[in-house]
Symmetry: C2
Subunit: 410 residues, 2 copies
């Protein structure tokens, strides 16, 4: 039996262009890793009628629905009221919920605001789901054959309650749910059609489904099946076939995989970033423990910083400009010298929207990699397409790819 | 008449936990800025039956539906086929679409792969929507009273086509759609209940709706109405009332607003980042034109870098540790000296998950701000809650807040 699950996220801010919904990805990730299929995700605004209509439609259609958002203390948090309306239940103060909210404030030595009492008003007969890191308790109820779990929208609270409260309950309710597992391999340097062409030339064995996704500029190869050993074998096959284009495995980031290689070789990296403005350093330090292999970065946005911190000669900047192969090389060598790193990577370019010229249009980027031991500095010019955001992202991934390639070859 | 719009995003990767859907936010932003209401957003996987069912349900319920994803060349791109099934139309090769795809490759001197021919297979009788920056043409069709617009899922292609092709068509179809406008004010340093309490003590005039949102750690105040002048007056009122907590207006980021203040005062900023690892620099350089006021950053992740680049004395590190007030102060002063900036900001802390101790738990952060002219360095210790991601984000926003406060007072 394959479980049929759905996600409902609630909030005006998700439909006004202000913020992206990230809860769906978080929830879906935890469900998918248990082999459960998410059939749909829906978002509605903070309106009683819209919330109630979505709840009623989803009841009956799905085995379980995880709902997030609208449990806060303010007037536009309306999920509990809408659920009561949808399922014709009375909204009543829950003593259990009130005790939990009070305890939350007391433990932190804070005074509970009167507005927080509203968070204890829940549809009658629901089960209260404790919230260990926030004020909003969740709740769960059945309607027909469908289980509903209501969680707050704050990602950290939602995720903690999903793991502590919801998943164990779902697992208990559906002990025999078929477990489809996934393996992911992240590819850099090949287009999606090219990856598909390479992989579909060798058919997958029965029981393994092949899928593709794009997280620009990465292509994600997805293998799905229930036989873990077979999945591992097929993932290893894919990695052998695509070899040097494999940027990361599983849900690791390319920066974290690069970090693992650096740690394995006992080498340390330093950066000189111009057009990426700290993005590469941020991607690297997003991984816990990066201090083992990452010395640091000089974000030399201004030319004066390139001179002062990296020793790039002013004449070089006058002659060739900051966006040039000689400047990238001087940045990398300057960083190698000043940091004591084993590898020093430098990027300089024009991310746009301004600053481009006929000779050096927006998207022109130079990457340089210098290594301790006297090998010649590797330098290359690129012309990346797209807007500022895309140019910066592509540059960062290309730079990380260079370090990975270097480590795999050395 | 208020237009009733919906968004449907298609893709396995959106329901597997791999990536967050960002297209909904982009589309919603463009629609909301024109005063159009988005009633719901839905996501389904790459399965013909699921796509077709969602299309049929949404037809009749909404005035217009914008669909993204599943128009690529690979086997798991199934939107055109599913739309043909849903609306009982034949799938036929569109000569117009084929000409556009061919032209895309020819203009770039590339050879068209056979797989790309599939992208010209469209439901019979649809209007082709040209794609100026990718291979996948979009298409539009009517079903009953509902207009459907199908766009590729790649954000840059989707957004370009939305602006060039879809919005002018919607505007033409519904010339009298009521235009609800929004004003947003981003708040840092007050909780959502506190912001609501401050604002609801003075009721809004009729015709203005007040809403709230959270983009951690920011609270977003939203004013909605159709009278632009009244909206501007009320937004100015909110800004006066919340004064120093206003981190940014409209869809500007706090880092961009801080940059505007720096530019206005002719001052330049430099950073010394440790635990944030480049995040603050990345946020600042995300804004085009940041080179006017941003000199650069030293991401001194390793203690050696703190010594070498910022002149932090090794004895200081031995005595107080890198996560300490003296170290933050020395980092800021070192950066002020070496960069020639007017303001130098330093952060050092423990983002976790490892590295905490009883004395300095995870979340301990020191921020220091040094100014040219001899004012004493401002230093403060914080204990931020949450995981690595949250600690880094909170630290970055607090640091940017410090610079903003300094500029508003000086």
């Amino acid at each position: 039996m394959a479980l049929d699950l759905a996600i409902l996220t609630i909030g005006d801010e998700l439909l006004s262009g202000e913020i992206s919904d990230t809860n769906t990805r978080r929830i879906a990730g935890h469900l998918a890793s248990r082999g459960w299929r998410i059939a749909e995700a829906r978002t509605v605004a903070d309106r009683n009628a819209d919330i109630a209509q979505a709840l009623i439609t989803m009841a009956g259609e799905r085995d379980a629905v995880i709902v997030t958002g609208g449990l806060g203390p303010t007037e536009d948090d309306r999920t509990a009221r809408a659920a009561a309306e949808a399922f014709a239940l009375r909204l009543t103060p829950s003593n259990e919920a009130l005790v939990q909210i009070r305890a939350y404030f007391e433990e932190r030595g804070r005074v509970m605001a009167p507005a927080n009492e509203k968070q204890a008003l829940l549809p009658k007969g629901t089960e209260v789901l404790p919230n260990s890191c926030g004020t909003a308790p969740g709740f769960s109820l059945n309607y027909g054959d469908t289980l509903f779990y209501f969680l707050p929208g704050v990602p950290i609270e939602m995720e903690t309650m999903l793991l502590e409260q919801v998943l164990p309950r779902v697992q208990q309710k559906f002990p025999k749910a078929a477990a489809l597992r996934e393996r992911h391999i992240r590819i850099f340097g090949l287009s999606e059609p090219k990856v598909e062409e390479l992989l579909t030339s060798r058919p997958m064995p029965p029981g393994i489904e092949l899928g593709f996704g794009v997280d620009y500029p990465l292509v994600i190869v997805k293998l799905r099946g229930s036989d873990e050993a077979l999945l591992d074998r097929m993932a290893a096959n894919v990695e052998r076939l695509l070899a040097r284009f494999v940027a990361a495995r599983g849900d690791q980031s390319p920066a974290a995989y690069m970090g693992e290689l650096l740690r394995g070789k006992g080498k340390r990296l330093a950066l000189a970033e111009s057009c990426t403005g700290g993005l590469i350093a941020q991607m690297i330090t997003d991984a816990p423990g990066a201090s083992d292999y990452f010395i640091g970065a000089a974000v030399t946005y201004h030319n004066k910083a390139k001179q002062a911190w990296l020793g790039v000669p002013p004449e070089l900047l006058d002659t060739h400009g900051a966006v040039s192969a000689p400047c990238a090389e001087a940045m990398a060598l300057g960083m190698l010298r000043t940091s004591g790193a084993d590898l020093a990577l430098a990027v300089t370019g024009i991310a746009g929207p301004d600053g481009g010229s006929e000779e050096k249009p927006v998207g022109t980027v130079f990457i340089a990699l210098a290594c301790r031991g006297g090998d010649p500095v590797r330098v290359q010019q690129f012309e990346f397409g797209g807007d500022r955001h895309k140019v910066r992202r592509m540059t960062a991934h290309m730079a990380i790819d260079w370090v990975r390639q270097n480590l795999l070859q050395s």
